[in-house]
Symmetry: C2
Subunit: 200 residues, 2 copies
């Protein structure tokens, strides 16, 4: 089958999705064509729309099609709390899992000088300005517990200290439902070191 | 985040792809938005095009955007061989793996009376007409070696016999690179039963 056929083009295009190889792309193309053309058409429309319209929220740097995202625009959210995360998926995860009702700031990355990602790339000047003017009471650092995430967290702590803001970091330790036996050594060591007093 | 945001819509729409759950859809949406907007736009365009234009080849029932697919239209392919497969992916697989240069007929399913799939749904009347008029010399049955595939194969054999056509079935047995130890019992039994003479 010559590569110019529309079916081959579709299979080839589907491979731009992460984790989709040639066989999955074939399966996806055939599935849409044989069983869900309507879904495929709708996906095409939303995809084109999203790629063209979604930009960054001017306030929190989250992905949004608006100038100011719905979380920043919502007047019922608490201005006194600011949660700093690495990526828009982290915002989604926190929104889905917790009852947090404060504001967010999305770094869109983590400090990694070797890759050319410094404070400017993470919008930290914008964050500093925000701490200056809107002055939240608490800054919750929710960067990932990786080496770069920890470095970023440390940088943020120093920034917040100079503004006299209460700084917190989300807890790291043994996950719920996990077993000590199968928890990796560094997590277990961290959980042990960060043990909390039980006040009964 | 309210479900109306374009990002949420995109994540939701991506879930129409087979094998894509909420987490994969998030990852795909973020990947396209942050790293490959051009690929996303192109996918949207090809997807819309494919969903609207791809239909069935009037001759072999394969998926194509043309009235007669490129394989049927190609004058350099051998009219004396006709390979019958269940699905368009099978055509792709055979084209990619073999040097077969004959024609195809795509059943788009397999006989399964309980699911309401009989000879008419598989276009077997169209196939009978084709055997009558273009009269290939060999019909290669390449349905899958499942219960329904075998039933379909048996039906096809009876059809072809009445037209005095040489009938072949692709070989089933231990896959290349496979080990007898790990081959399932029915495959091994079949391979044993279908052993071939080695003529030196």
């Amino acid at each position: 089958m010559p590569t110019e056929s529309l079916l081959s083009q579709l299979i080839e295009s589907l491979r731009c999705l992460p984790g989709v190889g040639p066989k999955s792309a074939q399966r996806m193309a055939l599935h849409l064509l044989e069983r869900n053309r309507e879904g495929g058409l709708q996906l095409a429309a939303v995809l084109a729309d999203a790629m063209q319209k979604i930009g960054r929220c001017t306030r929190c740097r989250n992905l949004t099609e608006l100038e100011i995202c719905s979380l920043c625009a919502n007047p019922r959210r608490d201005d006194s709390q600011l949660c700093v995360v690495e990526s828009p998926v982290d915002v989604l995860a926190i929104e889905q899992a917790t009852a947090y009702s404060g504001r967010y700031f999305v770094l869109l990355g983590r400090l990694s000088p070797l890759d050319g990602i410094g404070p400017a790339e993470l919008g930290l000047d914008q964050l500093a300005e925000r701490l200056e003017h809107s002055a939240p009471k608490e800054m919750i650092i929710a960067t990932n517990p990786t080496v770069e995430g920890e470095a970023t967290s440390y940088y943020l702590q120093r920034m917040a200290k100079s503004h006299n803001i209460h700084i917190t970091r989300i807890a790291h330790g043994v996950p719920l439902g996990g077993e000590l036996e199968y928890t990796d050594q560094s997590t277990l060591a961290h959980a042990f070191g960060s043990r909390l007093a039980i006040d009964e």
